[in-house]
Amino acid sequence: MPDDKPLNAGGRKFHPVYLFLLIPYAAWAWPPFYNRLTPEVFGIPFFYWWQIFGIFLTAACIVPVYLFEEGRRK
């Protein structure tokens, strides 16, 4: 494909900060890990509180990448 675009069109270099974005996927990648009842928190089984915690983790993992991109914009 002569008119193909390189993966990072626009000449951006890959920066390790983007690896943060893989952490949330890792948290859910292996269901046997979180498909368990204990330890409980406030009576909530592990399966449930782990995944709710995962939502906060996801948002938190985007923050450093966002700050990095904002910094580079200036």
Binding site: P24, Y25, P31, G43, P45, I55
Partner: protein
């Protein structure tokens, strides 16, 4: 079943107030509504906060709020797949969708199919993407009306009137339909955005109250989980030589998140924001809705613990709507009268608002990618906008017809298929933001993905979407959208390579690398 009049009054007052807000939206930051990008994208003017409300209201629909707890209520842990789905989409949104926004802004694209047309110069591939979007979103609109029906029935307001052609119609549903059509027609996406703010405030108030008041009355979260049958509390363990239900669970989340942002109404929401930074900030802020969704999912278990399904006053509701009645019954049983009215208003308005965006997205798609492309290539901008408004109306009328004349089961089955079909547009839209495969290969890949996905769901009797693959003595339960997408990708890549080897070159790409950043 009798409902306290205060519940109905609070519901009605909130509903009417929000309807006025929607009609007033035409004057809010008024633009020239005879232009399609003004009516159908709100002039690409929404900042971080409005986009947050708009996308939040758009993605987490009333049907989600009814169906996810209903699934937990009936099937248990499997229903919680909505949580990884609603969380893991955001890193992808953060990375990919600012690129879509930028290229759409640079070339004036309004729909995903517009982008495909520009990127690949192939009108048939663009048509395939547009039709996939239209077919996938129509049953979604119908399901919003189903959500509204459940609420109306729970309020005991099921008075019927006879309308020509449609026959017996529930009067409140018809009233809601008229309100919805009126504000969509006059204010477009602006009115919808204003309603989104009101709707989301009501939803957050309801969720906060529900997760505090209800467990307290039931004796704490521990008691709630104790009431759930132990076999449903976790995914069933994997048998020998099988990847088990866990794999089905995670592919269900993965396939759903890939599909979600390619639905026409999500693209409309993304493109209406005022800059790419708005989208990136929202990737961090939108997970707040996912937390709300997780808590709403747990309402299904609270319904189990409260035993509403065994109470005679709700028997009729459960008979008519099945598990979808679990949340309305729980609210009626647990909340004070006035607060139940507020909660029901949140659900009903939460059905109207996404239905409006979906209808607008249908209007944009049909006008841009079918009407202008194939029927009237040189129509004036005013004609374009008028056409979109009419199509948006027809889409809603179709949905109303669907809900009234056909069984709800068909809408649910079509929505299931729609998710699988929309996932097959990933190589042509999402991947195309990075890699340009040959459009002819993509069309072949799309066709094989849609065909295979439909076949797998047909094998399951259109009742489920996790199809067990048997490979080398192993059983792999996998969401049909994901396995079909893998075949789709394989066909697209191999054919691109074959066409290239044959020296056959594809049409021109009107976008350049700089358009994406």
């Amino acid at each position: 079943m009798s409902v306290h009049p205060i519940t109905i009054i609070v519901f009605a007052v909130l509903f009417v107030a929000v309807a006025f807000l929607g009609l007033f939206g035409a004057r809010w930051r008024a633009g020239d509504l005879s232009q399609l990008s003004e009516w159908g994208l709100g002039g690409r003017s929404f900042g971080t906060l409005i986009t947050w409300f708009l996308l939040g209201g758009d993605l987490y629909t009333a049907y989600t709020f009814i169906a996810v707890p209903a699934l937990m209520f009936g099937a248990g842990a499997t229903g919680f797949f909505a949580v990884p789905y609603a969380a893991l989409m955001y890193p992808m949104v953060f990375i990919a969708f600012p690129r879509l926004w930028s290229v759409a802004k640079a070339h004036g694209y309004i729909t995903a199919a517009d982008f495909v047309k520009g990127r690949f110069g192939h009108r048939w591939l663009a048509l395939a993407i547009a039709v996939t979007g239209l077919v996938a979103v129509m049953p979604y609109i119908a399901l919003q009306l189903v959500g509204m029906q459940v609420v109306i029935a729970a309020l005991g307001l099921d008075y019927n009137v006879v309308v020509p052609v449609l026959g017996n119609v529930s009067a409140p549903l018809l009233a809601a339909f008229v309100v919805l059509s009126a504000f969509t027609y006059t204010s477009g996406l602006r009115g919808t955005a204003l309603i989104a703010v009101a709707k989301d405030l009501l939803v957050y108030i309801t969720v906060l109250a529900a997760i505090i008041i209800i467990p307290a009355e039931l004796g704490g979260y521990g008691k709630v989980f104790d009431a759930v049958p132990p076999a449903q509390l976790l995914l069933p363990p994997a048998p020998d030589h099988s990847l088990g239900a866990g794999f089905g669970y995670i592919t269900l989340a993965l396939g759903s998140l890939l599909a979600l942002f390619l639905y026409p109404h999500s693209v409309t929401g993304i493109l209406s924001s005022s800059s790419r930074h708005v989208i990136r900030r929202n990737a961090i802020l939108l997970p707040a809705y996912s937390v709300a969704l997780a808590l709403i999912a747990l309402l299904g278990y609270m319904a189990v613990a409260s035993g509403v399904n065994r109470m005679p006053e709700y028997t009729e509701g459960f008979k008519s709507f099945g598990n979808n009645f679990a949340v309305p019954a729980l609210f009626l049983h647990m909340f004070p009268h006035w607060f139940a009215g507020l909660a029901f208003a949140a659900i009903a308005i939460g059905a109207m608002m996404p239905a409006s965006i979906m209808a607008i997205a249908c209007g944009n798609l049909f006008t841009r990618n079918i009407y202008k492309e194939f029927i009237a290539p040189d129509c004036a901008p005013q004609t374009e906008a008028r056409m979109a408004k009419i199509v948006a109306f027809v889409a809603k009328l179709g949905a109303l017809f669907f809900v009234l004349e056909m069984q709800t089961a068909y809408a649910i089955q079509l929505q299931l298929l729609g998710g699988i079909w929309i996932c097959q547009t990933v190589p042509s839209v999402l991947l195309a933001l990075y890699v340009r495969l040959d459009p002819r290969a993509l069309l072949a890949g799309w066709a094989s993905g849609v065909g295979l996905g439909t076949w797998m769901v047909a094998q399951l009797g259109f009742k489920a979407s996790v199809y067990p693959l048997h490979i080398a003595g192993w059983t792999i339960p996998c969401y049909a959208a994901v396995s079909a997408l893998l075949v789709n990708l394989l066909v697209s890549i191999v054919l691109t390579w074959v066409l290239k080897a044959m020296g056959s070159s594809a049409a021109r790409d009107e976008t350049v690398a700089a358009d994406y950043i």
